[in-house]
Amino acid sequence: MSLKKPDNKIIAWIKIAVFLLALIPVLNLGISAYIDNLGANPIEKLTRSTGFWTLTLLLISLTVSPLRRLTGWNWLMRLRRMLGLFVFFYASLHFLTYLLLDQFFAWASIVNDIVKRPYITVGFPAFMLLIPLAVTSNNRMIKLLGGKRWLLLHRLVYLCAVGGVVHYWWLVKKDLSNPLTFALLLSLLLGFRLIYWLRGLNIPLIPRKGWQP
């Protein structure tokens, strides 16, 4: 077996492992909620934790393509759709925590937040932009859109990532160490792409036959 070209059976196992790993944070929260171990302010804990994992998984999914280029392990790309959908999953939990638990459908105050609180002004559209990406993540939609348009559409994820990090940055009261770490890692990941693009080493926009996102 080689790391460059593991057989399909091994990739299937890797996928299962990644799937289970990505479920750990939500299971952890679920169990904590069940045994009443979310601390004095459970809604805040749920909001922060789901937000943290959204950004973390987003950065991990953005690491796939640079890592593939550096290592030549093309099979890594086969993990990307699942990782992206987990980003959407945690972002949805984050959004629903805000909508259902934090605000409890106080629409006026939600609209007020979107208009007046800079971190929500930037966070809300960043989440909304993830929806078309999740909806078009299956093979049928890729075919329907055509690979070129599909790829262009999915570049929106860069905007989501920047929006997500800025959202975190702007809501922190004083200690910026966490948002700074995310910002630094994201600049590395985007910077890598920029260098490739500037050197004309970009992936061809038209995917090869048998290509999988």
């Binding site: 601390g39 004095a40 302010n41 809604i43 805040e44 638990l101 409890f104 106080a106 105050s109 007020n112 937040d113 007046k116 609180r117 800079p118 971190y119 702007w170 809501l171 009261k173 004083k174 200690d175 160490s177």
Partner: protein, 284 residues
Amino acid sequence: MKLATGAALSGFLPDWVLAGEQLANVKKSTEALSDKLTPLKDITAYNNFYEFGTSKEDPAQNAGSLKTRPWTITVEGEVNKPRVFDIEELLKLAPMEERVYRLRCVEAWSMVIPWVGYSLAELLKRVEPTGKAKFVEFVSLEDPKQMPGQKSATLDWPYREGLRIDEAMHPLTLLAAGLYGEVLPKQNGAPIRLVVPWKYGYKSAKSIVKIRLVEKQPVTSWMKAGPNEYGFYSNVNPAVDHPRWTQAKERRIGEFLKRPTLPFNGYADQVAQLYSGMDLTKNF
């Protein structure tokens, strides 16, 4: 904590549960506040005390390194009788009373806490402020060995807070040495702290080592950290938003739905007259 249960549970409970040493001769509060008390567990496990780290759980975890004895508070500046008070003397300076106060954090959550202490005025009277004493500055302990959070420059250490002299002399302004009838837990600002119930929580300086009476308005740590976000007065005011979040509502710890925030945190009858004629939007 009762001794028997304390011994039985000590094996698997965190330290703070057993930290409580009862304070003697505490006069029970006469004024009944209809609000339900926040459980001791939440008051001692969910804290903003950046000297021990910036997450809410950090103070309960890290405050063990704080040494609360020996401890003194130096009172100096515009006073006729500047003095260094030993903690044991401070604890006996005036009769200890229980005061149940609402605590409203600038982050829009709140608690109801049965503090034990006496009015700060009791201490200030004893040093005889001069006519030039217009403001009072509070300085908290600075010692990164005891306070690991001070190893990072999150705030400009030591923590500094301030009040106008009439605010400091107001009977509601409390010098607290305990809560729930027990000696103040370390994560709550031991051994002695300020409690100003009509202002956002950060105004109530913890682990105080120095009190200075001064002529000019002091610059507080939070004013330095964000002059547009944290003003000198910091009165709880649902009508004036923090630039980044609303102050109209708050979540009471332990409750699901948010409740409206009251002007001056519900103490308007007692303190609103201190600010008559002032534009509270400008003097936030």
